[in-house]
């Protein structure tokens, strides 16, 4: 009897399992050691705008997509000036409005492309529409097609959304092109919190404390930020709801209240307090209750960061004579030293993939961003000749890092991949930018 039930169950489930497998065809196995960059072509985007409003929408749209796909590191990009198709590059008459149902794939195949992206941007009566499609050039079929409608200022966000669709359709992984970065800037005079898209676009100011704000860390669900502010005189911890703007002080013990870090489940905060006479690591609930002390050492212990499984906490300690990275169980047991090379190693950040810990160090001829495996092996110095590089934070997919660098005088926020090769400057405003923290998920704060 039991056997029969089992067979029946398998028979019933089979179509679902099968369709799941068929649906999730992986074009690019980014985890494979034999991974090669996937050749993708971006056809020039067509722009259908009234003749007086040629704002190079097509060029701008394709350039944003090119930057996104390039940063991912998965693609070799083909971006010809004009389409190799015979009819390519000539906008269809406005009446028709959409891209041709199927492009002529042969010229794209001849260029070596295995996938093709086409886009049509329409701007009419204050409304912007992006219609974008991703094709399999080899099979000559549509993989994904989307239409986005919004305002003129939404162009980059529309393109980012389609870039995420491309990443998901080809790799099966979530892209980060709709995520945001929170950071501290003196653009408005004092050190205040700012928010921007991951690529540096759409910068907005979040706080007006007119004091000193440090160390913002956003909750894993993207809705709240905890940070240190001297607003009330002492360095206290505040929590701010990114949707409502509501703000509360959650920790104001005598001395330092700083360097908060959210546990991966968002239920606890690790932090540094010096209320017991000396900076130690504690954990507490995000409302300030349930305080537990983790470290007991007369040296300085600061800057905790959780492993993505929530089992361990890495932190900075001067117990060995100068600041180095240590880690322990999340309950404070079993403290071990992680770094032995480098001087003044601070600001650890545990990769969301769990495989590496980034930190800044005086190593390799200056202040540089380094990464190391959690077992202490394979130390790498990533930044070089970029000035003073500090405060690394990982991208949500663990393939990129943001950090501050004073290469151009004042510190600004930069992005690089985990190998330290592709480098992109993200902030250009007046003043100094620091404490960048890559927000794990896309949420629109109101």
């Amino acid at each position: 009897m039991k056997k029969n039930y089992l067979i029946l169950l398998v028979l019933l489930l089979a179509p679902f399992l099968l369709s799941q497998i068929l649906w999730a065809k992986i074009y690019i196995d980014i985890r494979s050691p034999s991974f090669r960059k996937f050749p993708i072509a971006l056809s020039p985007f067509k722009a259908l705008t009234p003749p007086s409003q040629d704002m190079k929408l097509g060029e701008r749209g394709r350039e944003i997509l090119r930057e996104d796909l390039d940063i991912s590191g998965f693609f070799s990009l083909l971006t010809p000036e004009t389409s190799p198709e015979k009819t390519g590059g000539i906008p269809s008459p406005p009446g028709e409005g959409t891209a041709p149902e199927s492009p002529d794939f042969q010229p794209w195949a001849n260029l070596g492309a295995e996938a093709l992206v086409t886009g049509v941007i329409t701007y009419q009566d204050g409304s912007l529409t992006l219609e974008a499609r991703l094709y399999d050039v080899v099979k000559k079929e549509l993989i994904v097609g989307k239409r986005y409608i919004g305002e003129m200022t939404d162009l980059s966000r529309m393109v980012h959304r389609f870039a995420d669709e491309i990443i998901f359709a080809l790799t099966g992984e979530q892209g980060f092109f709709q995520t945001k970065i929170i950071f501290v800037s003196t653009a408005a005079g004092n050190k205040e919190l700012f928010l921007m898209d991951w690529d540096g676009r759409n910068v907005t100011q979040l706080t007006h404390h007119k004091s000193i704000i440090l160390s913002p860390r956003v909750s894993p669900d993207g809705t709240k930020v905890v940070f240190t502010s001297y607003k009330m005189g002492n360095p206290d911890l505040f929590i701010k709801d990114l949707r409502t703007g509501e703000e509360r002080r959650i920790s104001s013990y005598p001395g330092l209240n700083m360097s908060p870090a959210w546990s991966p489940d968002g239920k606890r905060l690790a932090l540094t307090l010096s209320k017991d006479g000396n900076p130690e690591i504690y954990t507490m609930n995000p409302d300030g209750s349930g305080l537990v002390r983790l470290t007991h050492n007369p040296a300085i212990d600061v800057s905790p960061t959780w492993s993505p499984d929530g089992q361990k906490i890495a932190f900075v300690s001067s117990r060995g004579g100068n600041p180095q990275i240590y880690f322990m169980e999340a309950n404070g047991q079993n403290v071990q030293r992680l770094t032995f090379e480098g001087n003044y190693n601070t600001h650890p950040s545990w990769s969301p993939r769990g495989d590496r810990i980034a930190f800044d160090a005086t190593l390799g001829g200056g202040r540089n961003i380094c990464t190391i495996r959690p077992d202490g092996s394979d130390l790498r110095v990533l930044s070089a000749n970029l000035g003073k590089c500090e405060m690394p934070s990982w991208s949500p997919d663990g393939r990129n890092l943001i950090f501050s660098s004073d290469r151009d005088g004042q510190p600004h926020i930069f992005l690089m991949d985990a190998e330290g090769t592709r480098i992109k400057k993200l902030t250009f405003q007046r003043g100094s930018d620091s404490y960048s923290y890559w927000i794990p998920r896309a949420r629109e704060p109101k």
């Binding site: 000193i212 440090l214 360095p235 001395g255 010096s274 006479g277 300085i300 600041p323 003044y344 202040r367």
Partner: protein, 198 residues
């Protein structure tokens, strides 16, 4: 030539600063209870437009080694005899070595002067501000700045100053005295400052 004239400038600025302090304090010593509240602004004003801190960097543009020593000494000599009630808190600033919070003999000397004055003044509170240079991230530097402030606090308490008259705050690398452009400047930023508190 330049050297001589700039020394005169330093002395001039100094005399003006001390003058300010003396007039400010002598007024206060006339008033009794309310003075505690007013004491802070007088010193605050001095701190915001600091003639003394501006002087040392100017001097060090010239031969570095002899400059820093005479400046604080001149201050210390000038201030106490002029008016026993006045003290040049800026001149008592403590310097620290890199990643270190131990007190040098010079620092201890300054703290002894401060403790003597505080015991004589019998009222007034001071806040000790711990500062660092910009090497390393500020989370660590805030901790280091706090240790520097605590070193001074512990020493003052050991000299008999009531702990209720001392408060501490760390600004880490957030409030540099001079831009962290080179090692000489960074070294100046590794310091404790004293300000009057309410």
């Amino acid at each position: 030539m330049l050297k001589k004239s700039s020394w005169w400038l330093v002395i001039l600025v100094y005399v003006v600063a001390v003058g300010f302090l003396v007039t400010g304090c002598s007024k206060k010593s006339m008033i009794k209870d309310e003075a505690a509240g007013r004491q802070a602004p007088a010193v605050e004003a001095k701190k915001e437009a600091p003639p003394a801190p501006m002087a040392p960097p100017k001097e060090e543009a010239q031969p570095a080694p002899p400059a820093p020593a005479p400046a604080p000494e001149a201050k210390v000599e000038a201030a106490p005899p002029a008016a026993p009630e006045a003290i040049d808190l800026v001149g008592l600033r403590l310097q620290f070595a890199f990643d270190d919070y131990s007190l040098s003999s010079k620092s201890k000397e300054n703290l002894e002067k401060l403790a003597g004055w505080m015991k004589k003044a019998e009222m007034g509170k001071i806040q000790i501000e711990g500062h660092t240079c910009d090497i390393g991230t500020n989370e660590y530097n805030l901790a280091l700045g706090e240790r520097r402030a605590n070193s001074a606090r512990t020493y003052l308490e050991g000299l008999g100053v009531s702990s209720s008259r001392i408060s501490t705050i760390s600004y880490g690398e957030e409030r540099p005295l001079v831009p962290n452009t080179d090692e000489a400047n960074r070294s100046k930023n590794r310091r404790d400052e004293f300000v009057m508190a309410k």
